[in-house]
Amino acid sequence: MFWQDPQFGNKLITLMAALVLVLQILMVAQRWLVTNIRAFGLQSFLLGSIAVTIAYFNHAPQIYIVAALTLVFKAVVLPIVLERLVTKIGIRQEIEPLVNVPISVIVSGLLTLLAYVVAESFRESAEATGPASLGHNTLAVALSLFLIGFFMMVNRRKALTQVLGFLCLENGLFLAAISLTYGMPLLVELGIFFDLLVAVMVLGILVYRIRETFDSMDVSKLSRLRG
């Protein structure tokens, strides 16, 4: 049966990882905050699905728990919370990156290239030692998410969009953990998840307060402390 064939699993994972990367570039390229948040939700949904696929083909039941958490919290709860925050503080919808969109996309492309070069050096050692190479080709995507998330944080001025960049970066880490080691030990994954949720809560409260105090979310206005 084709759904028991590891080759099929491998292709499925590669397809989803490619979509994840496309969504990431889309987030860099388009201008509307709400679309960005939804793209993040969709990306998290795909990551959860990748985790489920890896769990299924490698018979690693502990990954199911992490996958379920990702599907519930990152793909559904966080996007809803973030969208509520957007309506609540009533900011302008446009993102206004520092570097214009075409150049941002080119930078993202270069970062992806860099990620592939770095990931290539792991490939050799992985084939020599790893039990199954399933999911290893997603490492490059994971590193791209990490680097592009980093770039998004630097490239954006609004506090909330920086939080989004941070979440993408975190998604990259999740994919790296899944593809390199089939997930960290369950306890650690749960701890990381808990930290992420608290972090989003804390950052959300800060965004709200910054908006209240400065009447803006432009973090370049946060520049009174110097020297």
């Binding site: 920086q162 390199l180 650690v188 402390l225």
Partner: protein, 501 residues
């Protein structure tokens, strides 16, 4: 009480104290809970030190918690600072309340809810620092380090000023991004060990990893260590990732800033040290060593101009902490038995001296209601004889004037650097040290000594002065005499760092 119970109790007591403070209705109740809780934690920390000295290492919950001399040292220092700061906090916040500082809040929090925020978050903050030191699993340790950031963000926003929001935003974002690099480093470490240890939960336990470190995949470990250095280095405020530090330290309420600048710094360095030990066993010690020395000396150098031109004394102390983080990272990089001993000694002395400095600066700040040198001008010692004198003494101590103990530890580090042949770094170390010495002594000397404007007469502040007194007494005594068991603990901890024992 057996040993594993101590480990559990050290974590449980702050958690319970935090929950009780959250539920408390009265200020006195919250103060009593914090004082009592941190008192108990300090006693437990001493019990842990005794147990570790007796047994070498202690573990609980099937190895989930693990304490050796290094963790016990960090726990002891954290507990000491937390206790002293909880005494100081009582006087500090009562003073704030008398002067109606809380009413300046832009967000309109009432006094009691502000106090609850401090008294409930601080125990949680201490809990997460204790978990950093006691978790054996490196992943759990990462979770705990991130938790120290998350629990302290709202301590930085405590006063609700526009500037405190700015400081908290930088703190949370830079800290979060930095730590995500540390997480990637942890994942890569796990990966580099996987073909040796398999994918069991214990595959990330430091005590297990360290015995197999020589078999790890070397290329992966190299990359992992760089990420860990950048990640935990951000948390420790190593240059060039230090920019959040002066903001956060000068905006947080003084007792919280004192904890942040001493105990939290220790926790970040502790994480770095654990990975340093793995990396130096997997690769050569010279690989992590060279990176650490580079970043360490860079941090010392970057803090020099900011110390020299500083206008605000709490920011001065923050840049000073960057300098000392650099010193400790350099000591770790120099390595060897001597470098490691310099590191653990310096960690101990710095914790006492830096928290004391922040507390003195807090008393001065509350008296004059400003932290700018320009506005106070001079003569603090005439208006605040006790706090002023201790401020000057602690400044002399921290810049490494003999006979104070920081002179000894810096001398040990320098000796180790020369012995290992790192002449360039050693010369830079001395050069930056002298510049910092000049900057700090001129600024604080000018602030404390000299003629004073006729101002309000000095009073005695029972809570704050007693906390400062105890801390100052420890600092003075340590210059001449370290209790035998404490020195043994420091030496054993150094042995773990250098891989000797």
């Amino acid at each position: 009480m057996n040993e594993s119970m101590i480990l559990l109790a050290i974590l449980a007591v702050p958690l319970v104290a935090g929950a009780l403070s959250f539920a408390a209705r009265k200020r006195q109740a919250m103060e009593a809970i914090n004082l009592g809780g941190f008192g108990v934690v300090f006693v437990l920390a001493i019990a842990l030190v005794a147990a570790v000295l007796r047994r070498g290492s202690v573990s609980a919950l099937n190895g989930f918690l693990y304490a050796d001399s290094l963790s016990a040292l960090v726990v002891l220092l954290t507990a000491l600072v937390a206790l002293i700061c909880s005494v100081y906090a009582v006087g500090y916040f009562r003073d704030d309340e008398r002067n109606n500082v809380f009413e300046e809040d832009l967000l309109g929090d009432v006094t009691i809810s502000k106090l609850r925020k401090y008294y409930a978050l601080t125990p949680l903050f201490v809990f997460s620092m204790m978990l950093v030191a006691l978790a054996d699993n490196l992943g759990v340790m990462w979770v705990a380090v991130e938790a120290t950031t998350l629990t302290s963000v709202f301590l930085v926003t405590f006063y609700g000023r526009a500037t405190s929001l700015e400081a908290a935003w930088k703190y949370a974002i830079i800290g979060g991004v930095g730590l995500s690099m540390a997480l990637l480093g942890t994942i890569l470490t796990y990966y580099s060990a996987r073909h040796v240890l398999g994918s069991e939960t214990s595959g990330l336990n430091w005590s297990v990893l360290v015995t197999h470190a020589w078999q790890f995949d070397k290329t992966t470990m190299k990359l992992a260590f760089i990420l860990i250095l950048l990640g935990y280095g951000t948390k420790a405020g190593i240059a060039p990732m230090h920019t959040w530090k002066p903001d956060a330290y000068s905006e947080a309420p003084v007792p919280a800033a004192a904890i942040l600048s001493s105990a939290t710094l220790n926790c970040a360095l502790y994480g770095l040290v654990r990975f340093y030990i793995l990396a130096s066993r997997c690769l050569e010690p010279s690989y992590p060593g060279a990176l650490l020395m580079l970043f360490g000396v860079l941090s010392m150098g970057i803090s020099v101009p900011f110390v020299l031109i500083q206008r605000n004394f709490r920011r001065l102390l923050a840049y000073h902490t960057i300098d000392h983080a650099g010193i400790m990272v350099t000591a770790l990089g120099v390595g060897g038995p001597l470098g490691a001993l310099g590191l653990t000694l310096h960690m101990t002395f710095h914790t006492v001296a830096k928290s004391l400095l922040f507390l003195c600066a807090g008393t001065v700040y509350q008296h004059f209601r400003t932290d700018l040198f320009r506005k106070i001008k001079s003569g603090v010692i005439r208006l605040l004889p006790f706090a002023g004198a201790v401020f000057l003494m602690a400044t002399l101590a921290i810049v490494g004037t003999p006979p104070f103990s920081l002179f000894q530890s810096e001398f040990v580090i320098l000796q180790a650097a020369f012995a290992a042949g790192h002449y360039t770094y050693a010369v830079l170390f001395v050069l930056f040290g002298v510049a910092i010495f000049a900057g700090a002594v001129i600024h604080v000397g000018g602030l404390v000594l000299g003629p004073a404007d006729p101002g309000p007469a000095a009073r005695l502040y029972p809570w704050r002065d007693s906390a400062v007194f105890v801390s100052a007494a420890i600092l003075v005594v340590m210059g001449f005499w370290l209790p035998g068991p404490v020195f043994e603990l420091i030496r054993n901890a150094a042995g773990i760092v250098s891989g000797g024992s």
